[in-house]
């Protein structure tokens, strides 16, 4: 147990912080820990949580994905066309929206791997393209999502918020098994030491392609869930989600240098960030001052994460 906590200390810290914040939030909320409060909280958290998952796959291979928000905007707009009407049409739309996200990610990956261009440049460019398409689809917010489906995904099941159930499914049904596959291992190897991965006979190109495709897939899932929560399509949501997804993975203990962190951490980071925002909403801090406080909390979290540098005994290591 001690061993486990030591090797996963980043996730453990993020978990403790999250539980503390949530307890404070529910304690100060006028309606307390009711299903209603929990459901709204969980929906907000899961949107950013899925975006953070998308960012995690890019960051863990020592990349970054500035198109996470753009993929969300695009898939959200697509969903606003496809998720209404006949049952069969909706079912196909449920598949088509994440696939669209995955294709966006695959495009990022192809340009990064075969164009040999840094992820930050590629995703900055593709982000504009994705938002551009989204704006063509939805010049102004609109469209509709089937209400029954939206309710099923965003309310609760026997008092348990559906968003939390989805979170558990992502972790238990996807992440934990995925971590035990060659691809899951390869992601970390690539991010931690590309040279060692290459020398161990790993196909680094396939792994990097897969990482960005997964990032796109989760961006698409985030866009899909966002559609269920808002039931409209809006092309203007990109910027905020991209930046917050980066903040979330950092808070969740995922190192931007790659190779360290987990999807659980990324989810926890996103939940922390959203809980802080909710807390401030009820804490009486003027809403104009909220970005200031959010920024300070984020800066403090990153500073703690960077404290390892103080242990370097060779000054040149600080720069590497």
């Amino acid at each position: 147990m001690v061993d486990y906590m030591k090797s996963n200390r980043r996730e453990v810290i993020a978990g403790v912080v999250l539980v503390t914040l949530l307890a404070t939030y529910l304690g100060t909320h006028p309606r307390g820990a009711s299903t209603y409060v929990m459901t709204i909280w969980a929906n907000q958290c899961l949107i950013l949580g899925l975006a953070a998952c998308a960012q995690f796959f890019a960051v863990v291979v020592r990349g970054i994905d500035l198109s996470v928000g753009a993929v969300m905007a695009l898939t959200n707009c697509i969903a606003s066309y496809l998720l209404d009407g006949s049952a069969v049409g909706i079912a196909m739309g449920m598949v088509a929206v994440p696939v669209a996200g995955a294709l966006c990610g695959l495009l990022n990956g192809l340009v990064i791997v075969y164009g040999r261009i840094q992820p930050i440049v590629v995703t900055l460019a593709t982000a504009s393209i994705f938002v551009g398409i989204a704006l063509l689809l939805r010049p102004t917010p609109g469209g509709a999502v089937n209400y029954d489906l939206a309710d099923a995904m965003t309310l609760d099941l026997l008092g348990m918020p559906t968003a939390l159930i989805i979170t558990v499914v992502v972790v238990l049904g996807f992440w934990l098994p995925f971590r035990r596959t060659g691809l899951g291992l390869g992601l970390y190897a690539l991010g931690s030491s590309e040279q060692a991965a290459f020398q161990s006979g790993i196909d680094t190109r396939v792994i990097r392609l897969a990482a960005f495709t997964l990032a796109g897939l989760f961006g698409g899932l985030a866009g899909l869930f966002y559609s269920f929560v808002t039931t409209t399509g809006d092309a203007g949501i990109a910027a905020g989600f991209t930046l917050n997804s980066i903040a979330a993975v950092v808070l969740g203990g995922v190192l931007l240098r790659g190779g360290v962190g987990s999807l659980i951490g990324a989810l926890a980071g996103a939940f922390i960030l959203k809980t802080i925002a909710s807390l401030m909403f009820f804490s009486g801090i003027p809403s104009l001052a909220q970005p200031l406080f959010e920024g300070m909390i984020l800066a403090a979290a990153i500073a703690i994460g960077g404290a390892d540098v103080l242990r370097a005994r060779n000054k040149l290591e600080v720069f590497s």
């Binding site: 035990r180 020398q199 060779n314």
Partner: protein, 522 residues
């Protein structure tokens, strides 16, 4: 043979090679590998037979590691052919080499630091694709680890938390579990203790006896004595000779490694100046267990050599003198004054006036995309008594160094390696340093420029500069240096000067054996 019986179509070939009539397992014909102007390997023929341990010997830079990387598919040859079982193959990636059964245990460790031991073993293990990892072969790896004294290494420990010897043990297990047909051990045991080395050797002999070819690179003669069947000596990118163990004595082998004396490369040494002032005096320098109790002093006009195998603390010591290391113990005195040097900025102060030429000029010595002029100004910037923008500051040293360039405004990356090194030198010479610290300044530089740099160093010494020269080249330590200190495991194990400055003594000291004669019989 049993566990190999099922492996692909290759099995019949093993039978042939085992019986010893014909096709070698691996044959390299006329292989060359060039890095720009540097010829790491030049027209090498090399063969490797199944069931044999083939040792490869040579100085640093002789081309051994390049040869191994070609076989492991990490590098591809500039020209020449590589044949496995007599059929020509092209090894584009390490995967391609693995499919041929060519497995390398790399000198630079190939373990991923952030993953656990178990995960590292699974990485690229036979049969492990991108899908579910079943963990086949882990028992074998655990078995190997136990046999080579690594039983206490926990499978779920992070590799970054392991000690260097433990990482080498994991590397060995990782290589063996891939069931190699050709196993390359590149300095595989450099950090292991003698008893563990013996266990590793037992394992390697067992592999050999079951038909594996083993390529063995080591700097330790007693290890080669213990393990090798056949020996090849490399020098300057060429294979000098291949012979069975016992055909040549140690001094003959060392002679082959060192090669012909090229005295005319080096300027004549100046007569010893016993009376001149001590410029740099270091007492009991210690850092992090990697440098231990080093004391030495350099006089005006003296060139002091620092020798030893890679990573024995000499590089860290030089960095430490220049203020790059934190929490180091010991005292440094400059011209009799105790100096507290905590950063390069302290080190270049007028009253200290040290200059450091780093080992990797491309990343640490130069800003490649900036112009030659801007690079030249970098060292003088921040010295209140100097005007970094004044071209006159550099004119003298550029003349002296005979820098070949197409204009000072061109990026420094447009220069050849040798001329880049001259820019690094020139920027520090502008400060007129009292003591020059150089970390392997001639690595990867052509012979002509080397000769120029030797002449300049001697000239600077004659003008009164004290010089500390770290080198991996025995010739430099002997021909250029007035005195050479050899590092082993963080300590100075020998201080050689005058007639003691011989290749045999230096090699003996780098291997930390008392005298070459004892090494030969021990």
């Amino acid at each position: 043979m049993r566990r190999r019986a099922g492996t692909r179509a290759a099995a019949p070939f093993i039978a042939i090679t085992m019986s010893g009539n014909g096709t070698p397992l691996l044959e390299m014909r006329n292989i060359s590998k060039h890095f720009g102007a540097t010829k790491a390997l030049d027209g090498v023929d090399f063969t490797c037979n199944a069931g044999e341990v083939h040792a490869v010997l040579g100085e640093n830079g002789a081309g051994k590691s390049t040869l191994m990387k070609l076989i492991a598919g990490v590098l591809q040859p500039t020209q020449g052919q590589l044949c496995v079982d007599g059929r020509e193959v092209f090894l584009a990636t390490p995967q391609a080499a693995l499919r041929q059964g060519l497995v390398c245990m790399f000198q630079e460790l190939s373990l991923v630091p952030d993953l656990t031991v178990r995960e590292n073993l699974l990485l690229g293990a036979p049969g492990a694709g991108l899908g579910w990892l079943r963990g086949t072969g882990l028992e074998k790896a655990q078995d190997v680890l136990t046999r080579i004294g690594g039983a206490q290494i926990r499978m779920n420990a992070r590799v970054a938390d392991l000690t260097l010897p433990q990482r080498q043990q994991v590397e060995i297990a990782k290589a063996i579990m891939k069931k190699p047909r050709l196993l390359i051990l590149d300095e595989a045991t450099s950090a292991l203790s003698a008893s563990v080395v013996e266990q590793v050797f037992d394992l390697v002999r067992e592999e050999r006896d079951s038909g594996t070819a083993v390529l063995f690179i080591s700097h330790r003669f007693h290890e080669i004595e213990a393990l090798a069947d056949r020996i090849s000596v490399f020098r300057n990118g060429q294979r000098v000779e291949t012979f069975m163990k016992g055909d040549h004595s140690y001094s003959e082998i060392i002679g082959m490694m060192v090669g012909q004396k090229i005295e005319e490369l080096f300027p004549p040494k100046s007569p010893a100046r016993e009376g001149s002032d001590v410029v740099l005096d270091v007492r009991n320098y210690t850092w992090e267990g990697r440098v231990r109790n080093v004391s030495l002093s350099v006089r005006r006009g003296q060139i002091l050599g620092l020798g030893g195998l890679d990573g024995q603390g000499q590089g860290a010591f030089l960095m430490g003198l220049f203020g790059l290391l934190r929490k180091a113990d010991g005292t440094t005195a400059i011209s009799g004054q105790i100096a507290d040097i905590r950063s390069p900025k302290d080190a270049k102060r007028q009253d200290v006036s040290l200059a450091y030429i780093p080992e990797d000029r491309k990343t640490e010595g130069l800003i490649l995309d900036q112009s030659i002029r801007e690079n030249l100004e970098l060292a003088a910037l921040g010295r209140p008594d100097l005007d970094a923008g004044d071209p006159a500051l550099y004119a003298g040293s550029l003349d002296q160094l005979a820098l070949k360039h197409g204009g000072l405004n061109l990026p420094v990356s447009s220069l050849s390696g040798g001329n880049q090194q001259k820019v690094v030198l020139a920027k520090w010479l502008a400060l007129n340093p009292r003591c020059l610290l150089l970390a392997d300044p001639t690595r990867g530089i052509d012979v002509k420029t080397k000769t120029q740099i030797y002449a300049i160093l001697r000239q600077l010494a004659d003008q009164g500069t004290a010089i500390v020269l770290l080198s991996t080249d025995y010739e430099e330590l002997i021909q250029l240096c007035d005195e050479t200190h050899v590092f082993f495991d963080g300590e100075v194990v020998a201080a050689l000067s005058g007639d003691d400055l011989t290749p045999e003594n230096i090699i003996a000291a780098t291997l930390n054996v008392a005298t070459p004669s004892r090494a030969a019989h021990g």
